[in-house]
């Protein structure tokens, strides 16, 4: 299909059934505020990014990894993709590596020779960024064993099942450490996946940013401006949009900033996930 200029076509990845509720809610709200739009749901981010670059969709709600790939694919073609907006809750995240409280591991260096549980191979927060961070701390991937929990491959870690499995494996003693998003360490500590006081954080990465609403090369500028204005105008005080913001996990949309992707850019290179022009290198990656 090709996108028609009167209707903004937005791509999103269906990592959970609630995605339909969210985007149908947004679509109706956009329509009522003068922006005709429709949405296409993808089973994985790779197809969404390729379609964005091919002009089949105008805008993509991209994971950080999808942003990195879209940027690289565009640069290779001599075109560009535009950062539009991001969630307030997606700025300044960190990843952590946790061990059991009684573990002898005290620092990154102590992970040498140990088994680290990670999320799915395409999870920025639970695999790519923390593993690259360990490289920066002087450990090569041969210095420890990675036990990957490949749940929701192709969803770029949006499905937190992999992180939860890594946390469970840590508690059951199958692994010595587990990597995850800081907020998921908090969530697992509160929901009992990681019983209170049972783990200790030994590594924390620098801050990075997460998802990015991305405009592709075929996006009609006027519609994109309207979309950006509308998203930035969404108020948490508005009872009509608040349930959608709650579902999507934000209090406010912020203008997109591209300064928070450095760690992920280097991680994809270091770990050989994408090449410089956006081709998928990871040979065991089957979304």
């Amino acid at each position: 299909m090709s996108a028609d200029a009167e209707t903004l076509v937005i791509g999103a990845v269906a990592y959970d059934p609630k995605v339909v509720t969210i985007w149908e809610g947004f679509r109706v709200w956009f329509r009522d505020h003068g922006l005709p739009s429709t949405y296409l749901l993808y089973a994985n981010y790779e197809q969404q990014v390729e379609d964005l670059l091919a002009g089949h969709i105008h805008v993509a709600w991209n994971s950080p990894l999808a942003w990195v790939r879209a940027r690289r694919l565009a640069a290779a073609k001599g075109i560009s993709v535009q950062p539009l907006v991001m969630r307030d809750s997606d700025c300044d995240l960190t990843s952590v590596i946790a061990v059991r409280s009684d573990s002898s591991i005290q620092s990154a260096a102590d992970l040498r020779g140990k088994v680290i549980g990670t999320g799915a191979l395409d999870s920025p927060q639970a695999t790519l960024i923390p593993l690259a961070h360990l490289r920066g701390a002087g450990l090569s991937t041969r210095d420890f064993e990675v036990r990957r929990f490949d749940i929701g491959v192709g969803l770029h870690g949006d499905h937190i099942g992999g992180e939860r499995e890594a946390a469970r494996a840590l508690m059951s003693g199958q692994t010595d450490a587990a990597s995850m998003l800081d907020a998921n360490h908090l969530a697992f500590s509160r929901d009992g996946t990681l019983p209170a006081g049972s783990t200790r954080i030994v590594v924390q990465t620098p801050r990075y940013d997460h998802c990015m609403m991305t405009a592709g090369p075929s996006a009609p500028p006027a519609l994109v401006r309207r979309l950006t204005d509308l998203l930035l105008s969404m108020s948490y005080a508005d009872p009509e949009v608040r349930p959608l913001l709650d579902l999507e996990g934000l209090k406010a949309w912020l203008p997109g900033r591209t300064t928070g992707y450095g760690q992920l850019e280097s991680a994809t290179d270091l770990l050989g996930f994408y090449d410089k022009v956006g081709n998928v290198l990871a040979d065991d990656y089957r979304p």
Binding site: D88, L186, L194, A237
Partner: protein
């Protein structure tokens, strides 16, 4: 001056957020709160929690873990909230919002949310100031069918007298089941804001459930087979169930039907040949009196505000009469059983007296209906003619 909170050993995995929220609420938006504590994960968790809540987080290297500044975004959730009336029954509002849904009366209700679909949502449709008192009375008067009645007392009646009792019990069960189904159908349609009305009707349904139980149990005391159920009786009850309007349904059921039943139950209390039957009819009568009082209360309230409701009540009786006029009315089996019970013996004289007693019962029923209709503002002559149109099946 900077405010400080020491979370001590409480981490976010053990309720730290509650302490923090309390401290932040006490500060104006944007004011700094220095956070300190000894949980090893505090800094990581505090940052993640602030990000999710929209609070600003600045890590700190000094004695504190971080400085947190409260956002007012969380407060924005309650910006358009409204108070759903007041806790007291005197504070019900004329028409509660559909989106208040199941929220407690008096709660602060967040704006938005789904329409609740409670279509009986006007105070005039359902309310009576008697509701809280009648509900309290109803709750206090609940009796246990198992222990309030002595089921062990032997009931030994001549077989044909027992058969008459069984026939009347069969009829009563059928009618009690109708009296259960009618309010049950409206219960889920009444806006929960009118809590005491919903509570009263819920107990009314439970009352009818107990009545059906004790009458069925008495009917089956000596055998598995109960009496007969006539088409006419069921047709009469079907018209009650078919009435979609709450005011009209409760008028037909409680004012006309259950009101008439008060006389019937009094009659059975007097003439039933065994103490068990007399006791269960007495217990049921006490409940039914309350049901009639509630319906009278809310109809009087509604008529005070909408006098033209009286025309609709009149039409409802006339319509029901038209529907039922070609049916036989009270089943002959039931009528004859009442005569036998009132007679107390098979002497022709006694039967004749029993027949007179049932005729007297019917006159008393008609007079009772006329009195209630008069209380609802119908002129005496009209009350009499409407009373006469009531179903011969009593309920």
């Amino acid at each position: 001056m900077q405010t400080t909170i020491d979370l001590e050993g409480a981490g976010f995995d053990r309720g730290a957020h509650i302490l923090l929220q309390r401290a932040l609420r006490a500060l104006p938006a944007g004011a700094p709160l220095a956070v300190t504590g000894s949980d090893p994960a505090l800094k990581v968790h505090l940052a993640a929690w602030c990000r999710q809540r929209g609070h600003a987080f600045e890590p700190s290297e000094g004695p504190h873990v971080a400085i947190v500044r409260r956002t007012d975004l969380e407060g924005a959730r309650w910006a358009g909230a409204e108070r759903a009336g007041g806790f007291a029954a005197t504070n019900v509002v004329p028409r509660p919002s559909s989106t208040w849904g199941l929220a407690a009366r008096g709660a602060l209700v967040e704006a938005g949310g789904p329409e609740s679909g409670f279509d009986l949502d006007e105070k005039t449709q359902v309310w009576t100031d008697l509701a809280p008192r009648l509900y309290a009375q109803a709750a206090a008067s609940q009796w246990d069918p198992a222990s309030s009645v002595d089921w062990q007392v032997p009931v030994t009646l001549p077989p044909d007298v027992e058969a008459a009792v069984v026939q009347v019990m069969t009829y009563l069960v059928e009618n009690e089941q109708a009296a259960l189904a009618v309010p049950a159908r409206f219960l889920g349609r009444i806006h929960p804001h009118f809590r005491e009305v919903v509570q009263f009707l819920a107990v009314q349904v439970a009352d009818e459930a107990r009545h059906a139980e004790v009458f069925a149990r008495r009917g089956g005391l000596h055998g598995d087979e109960l009496g007969t159920s006539s088409v006419a009786g069921r047709a009469s009850l079907a018209t009650l169930l078919a009435e979609p309007d709450f005011a009209l349904a409760s008028f037909l059921l409680s004012v006309m039907g259950e009101g008439t039943f008060l006389n019937l139950l009094t009659f059975l209390e007097k003439y039933a040949p065994d103490p068990l039957t007399r006791e269960i009819t007495r217990l049921a009568r006490l409940d039914e009196t309350r049901h009639v009082a509630f319906a009278m209360g809310h109809l009087e309230y509604q008529l005070g505000l909408q006098p033209d409701l009286r025309d609709r009540l009149r039409s409802a009786v006339e319509r029901r009469y038209e529907t039922l006029k070609t049916t036989a009315g009270l089943g002959e089996d039931v009528f004859d059983a009442l005569v036998v019970m009132a007679a107390g013996s098979w002497e022709p004289d006694a039967i004749a007296r029993g027949f007179d007693a049932v005729n007297t019962l019917q006159s008393e029923m008609a007079e009772g209906r006329e009195r209630r209709l008069a209380r609802l503002g119908f002129p005496a002559s009209e009350a009499a003619s409407l009373s006469a149109l009531h179903t011969r099946n009593f309920m």
